[in-house]
């Protein structure tokens, strides 16, 4: 008799693109102040992450934690979950991500964000720019209104996408722990968008692939496993790190 694995991907598309993009329109209209605040917080965090210094690392992590908390409750739970019951099974992952970001912020040696000039930095910065600056406005090219923009900080897809970039811009042990939840969400989002025939799905898939590839490169080069010293926290590491 029929079991769960008999279903195809298209069977789980339960809503139309019209309804999906109306979610952002409604949220942006009702919660516009919170949406703007979260977007600005994301911009600030991205600006700080690109700098090459030791200050602000904890602030970035706290801002990301707040953003994930808001995106989880505001968008995913209040708006998305009613039309997509599968989201309820992923939502605990969002809570875990919020807690992990706070734990990393509270660590004696937090992650260190900054431009290092290596491949991982390029990939991380590119993903952040796409998530914060480009992704929200792709809909305009497809004829959707600005009010339906999926903004980093509130909409789950660009938030998860951008977080991949933030993690790639960071150094410090155990940082990979911050990757599974956004990676899983990006894969989930890519599948949803692909079934809805939305070309932006490929952006999510490429970002997932680049993140895994960059993470593997870092692991291979010993970057991921090397613990930051107090001296490194005080002084910027060399560009060629």
């Amino acid at each position: 008799m029929t079991e769960w694995w008999d279903y195809g991907l298209a069977d789980f598309l339960l809503f139309s693109p019209r309804v999906y993009y109306r979610l952002f329109e409604t949220m942006n209209s009702v919660w516009w102040m919170a949406v703007l605040a979260a977007f600005v917080a994301g911009l600030v965090a991205a600006g700080m992450a690109m700098r090459h210094g030791h200050r602000g690392n904890r602030v970035i992590l706290v801002l990301l934690s707040l953003i994930w908390a808001w995106a989880s409750y505001g968008f995913v739970w209040q708006y998305y979950q009613p039309i997509n019951w599968a989201v309820a099974y992923i939502l605990p992952g969002f809570v875990i991500e919020v807690l992990l970001l706070l734990v990393f912020a509270a660590r004696p040696l937090p992650l260190r964000f900054g431009w290092r000039g290596d491949l991982t930095s390029y990939v991380g910065a590119a993903i952040m720019v796409v998530a914060i600056v480009i992704y929200p406005f792709v809909g305009l090219l497809e004829g959707r209104d600005l009010i339906q923009a999926e903004l980093f900080g509130s909409a789950a897809d660009p938030t998860a996408l951008g977080t991949l970039g933030f993690v790639l811009m960071a150094r410090g042990t155990w940082r990979w722990l911050l990757l599974p939840v956004p990676l899983i969400w990006c894969a989930f989002a890519a599948a949803t968008l692909w079934v809805m025939d939305q070309q932006i799905a490929y952006v999510m898939l490429i970002a997932v692939w680049l993140t895994i590839f960059s993470g593997w490169l870092d692991l291979k080069n010993g970057v991921t496993t090397r613990r930051l010293t107090k001296a490194e926290l005080a002084d910027p590491p060399p560009i060629s790190d």
Partner: protein, 313 residues
């Protein structure tokens, strides 16, 4: 399955309860209040009881999953209003369809139409079916369903006995099972042969015709009503036919659109009780219902319809 007497099977078209009358049926786009008079349309009998139901229903997959968006919920209510005003009764949903059940409940509450609907839903769980049915009742804001079906045969060993028990206790009128996309045909046939089902729901349209070979004759032979899902292949069939002129013979059937031609093709099959097209457009809901009026195609014309559509897509 016993060999089915094809002549008796096809003669059944007359006996299965076709009754058409065209009495002034042009409902247009109904908004707001429901009409009290119900247009005369083609009805087909549920073999297990002889109850006659309108030959076109309303599906809710994707179209009614609009979440908490009140503007879209009101649009759904307009669709339901147009559907009822055009003589429709059966509305089908599933726990799988996101917020669709809750939205149907909203529409029925808003229109005060709980007494107009032939309520059709499903149980879709490998867990506690009774819990899910209880939740489904709450979402529809109804105490008793006309028909509950085991969705895609999931958990059928537990859920089918549960549905029969509810029927025996008077909490349910009809019991059925569903499949879609032609899945699990062998399992479905086994259930149809071994259980006293009232309804079965399958995918059928002029392109996906596999059920004609065995399943529809079996349903007729076993006295099982047939609900047809995906009559337009989730809308893609109509998209492919868009802009194509209707064949000349369609004028004989008084159809205005490909949607009506396809629905007439389905309704005319003696085993089919009720296709359930889904739509977000009130005008389309009314147009679909108008397929259950006027002449229906005979066997030869049905073959022509399938052939023409097969060439065009």
């Amino acid at each position: 399955m016993s060999e089915i007497d094809r002549r008796r099977f096809m003669q059944g078209a007359g006996a299965i309860g076709l009754s058409a009358s065209l009495g002034g049926l042009m409902p247009g786009v109904a908004q707001g209040a429901l009409r009290k008079d119900v247009p005369d349309i083609i009805r087909k009998q549920v073999p297990s009881t002889g109850e006659a139901i309108p030959a076109v229903g309303l599906g809710s997959w994707i179209t009614f999953n609009v979440g908490n968006d009140m503007a879209l919920r009101d649009q759904c209510a307009d669709v339901v209003s147009a559907f009822f005003n055009a003589g429709g009764r059966m509305i089908d949903s599933s726990p799988m369809y996101g917020s669709a059940q809750e939205v149907i409940g909203y529409c029925l509450d808003k229109l005060g139409a709980h007494d107009r609907v032939f309520s059709t839903d499903k149980v879709w769980t490998s867990g506690d079916g009774l819990d899910q049915i209880s939740e489904t009742r709450k979402r529809w804001n109804t105490r008793k369903f006309d028909l509950l079906q085991v969705h895609n045969l999931l958990g059928i060993n537990d859920n089918l006995p549960l549905l029969f028990r509810l029927k025996n206790e008077g909490q349910l009128r009809y019991v059925g099972v569903t499949t879609s996309h032609g899945r699990r045909t062998e399992d479905l046939i086994a259930v149809m042969k071994n259980e006293r089902l009232d309804f079965v729901q399958v995918t059928y349209n002029p392109v996906d015709r596999k059920v004609e070979e065995y399943l529809l004759p079996l349903a007729y032979d076993r006295g099982i009503a047939v609900i047809v899902n995906r009559p337009f292949r989730g809308g893609s069939l109509l998209d492919q036919l868009e802009g194509e002129p209707l064949p000349e013979f369609a004028a004989e059937l008084e159809v205005e659109s490909w949607a009506q031609l396809i629905l007439k093709y389905l309704i005319a099959h003696p085993s089919v009780t009720c296709p359930i097209p889904a739509t977000t457009n009130p005008a389309h809901a009314a147009e679909n219902m108008r397929a259950a009026t006027g002449r229906l195609p005979d066997d030869k014309m049905r073959e022509q319809i399938a052939a023409v559509i097969g060439v065009l897509i």
